[in-house]
Symmetry: C2
Subunit: 340 residues, 2 copies
């Protein structure tokens, strides 16, 4: 089958890879209907996370179940399913508390590589959620978004305790940040401030429910948020970048007692203790437990109440994956969808 | 009047200081019934926080109101009152959300110095809580504890989301850590693990409700907590020290999705982003908003349901304050009460 493999900095190729097979009796094999390039794929693509050997890429996926292992009870061949970037058993104490991405038996899907025609999904009963029926084709990008970027933006908004009466600020205008805006809107936030200086992203943020746009960054961005909030700061701030500057912008934009939800994969970030102590901010985040939210997100999409797939502004056949990486690296595209 | 003044490293003196007067119409003057030495007073006493000029000391206090300013409405001369280490208006949006120690008009009581015969209390109506009557003398240490160490331990347990069914671990066996144990017990925690290697402190922890004692520190302490919690870590961990080692011990002892409440004043702490991202831990703390809890804590003490004043294992006349500092510095005493 065809699949993407990263060979080194900015060297991603589509090539023949072995077709996956059932390895564990809890596995399923799916035929991918769509896959995509993630903002986090850009860390190794840009060489910031070094790759030591050719590495299959991709951890977002929707598709049709082809085959299941002998111990899979609930997932059936022929179902259309959505999963997320960690396979999880959904039964351990950590899963049951809603942190499936820290499941005691978790498997990172990035190690499997879903930018491909087929993929093996470990712990299929715990990991996959079937849609009510085979979806119309126009729903596929929205369901694919649920697999990671929507689930991650949603977790950011949950971790930031977005809700009615709250002012929510979002640091980062990538797909996750934009979908954190959509999530905060769904959660009933009163005011949603998107921090962005890119016109096309601002437009999508407004469409997703942003009430204000702040173009300033760093300390100037913090000042602007304070001006908009009687000098106090936002109740809830989502950090969707992962750099030191973005994290400090998020903490400093939050009022005492407020909440920062951080979902950008942190790179080289150190949180200074004394400043954080004085800030009185709540800090929570990490790899989103997307599985917790999938049933609710699939339902919202199925009812056509949200359109998170609008973050895909570039659609390519799988064979042209390298152009998808380039377009995202150069910020020509917010997010690239790949059709196997 | 007599009061303590810190001149430099390990040089604290009791000397004549000017009697306080009403400065703002919202002030009150109280005659102190008792004051004490705080663990946080040891940072400047030991020279870790340098003092550049002679500095009046003390920020914990209970006493009788002598005089009030013209705009004080609720607090009356003759009342017995408890306050905390930040004066706060208790009316601003931040106070109303429960973060009085970040009040937009807050005044740090340490700048006033309550290890003295009298003290000026700014924002008296917001800051002070009157007891139902003049307390019996044996209640005074308990009420004094509410002023800071109990309120701080209580906030640590609240920030760590201690509660029924939870396993709570406490890092630090100073007065705050010990009272975090008492607080977790009051909140209904199922299991309370006190981390301590001092026999007298272990005994008090057990009396306050600890179910387990862990003597190991650092990574060995983390391992022990994991062993006691099916390999997962505690649901709730209170950090009551303020060092890098203690903070990392707290984060690493907490299960994914669990909560760290940190109340030790952080010194030279940097929280590593990548590790924190993977930990899935909630982090919240800072200067305790003791005022939020005072009515409830005074009520528990008045009903003789808790005896937080047991942390005072040394009582001295104010004139002997330097011995109180020495005893705490050398860990001969958990906490020293001073009688003016």
């Amino acid at each position: 089958m065809r699949g993407t493999v990263l060979y080194g900095t900015r060297d991603v190729r589509v090539e023949e890879r072995p077709e996956p097979e059932i390895v564990e009796p809890t596995d399923a094999i799916i035929r991918l209907s769509a896959a995509c390039v993630c903002g986090s794929d850009l860390w190794p693509y840009r060489g910031i996370d070094p790759v030591s050997e050719p590495t299959p890429m991709g951890h977002e996926y929707v598709g049709v179940v082809e085959e299941v292992g002998s111990e899979v009870r609930n997932i059936k061949p022929g179902q259309f399913v959505v999963g997320s970037f960690f396979a999880s058993d959904n039964t351990c104490e950590i899963c049951q508390s809603g942190y499936q991405s820290s499941c005691v038996n978790r498997v990172l899907m990035g190690s499997i590589g879903t930018q491909a025609e087929y993929a093996r999904i470990p712990l299929a009963d715990g990991t996959l959620v079937a849609t009510p029926d085979i979806p119309d084709d126009d729903l596929i990008p929205h369901l694919l978004a649920a697999s990671d970027v929507l689930g991650t933006g949603w977790f950011g908004a949950v971790a930031a305790e977005a809700g009615p009466g709250k002012t929510v600020a979002v640091v980062g205008d990538g797909a996750v940040g934009l979908l954190a805006v959509l999530s905060a809107k769904q959660m009933g936030a009163e005011r949603i401030i998107a921090m962005s200086r890119h016109e096309s992203r601002q437009r999508l943020a407004l469409e997703f429910g942003a009430t204000d746009i702040v173009e300033e960054r760093g300390d100037a961005g913090v000042e602007r948020i304070k001006e908009l909030t009687d000098g106090l700061g936002a109740h809830s701030v989502v950090e969707a970048v992962g750099t030191q500057e973005a994290m400090m912008q998020a903490i400093r934009s939050t009022r005492p007692g407020g909440h920062v939800g951080f979902v950008g994969v942190l790179h080289g970030v150190e949180i200074p203790g004394e400043e954080f102590f004085s800030s009185h901010v709540h800090l929570h985040g990490g790899p989103a437990p997307v599985r917790r939210f999938l049933p609710e997100l699939i339902d919202l999409i199925w009812q056509r109440r949200i359109e998170p797939g609008k973050v895909f502004d570039l659609e390519l056949p799988l064979e042209e994956a390298p152009e998808g990486y380039r377009a995202m690296d150069e910020r020509r595209a917010i997010k690239a969808l790949l059709r196997p």
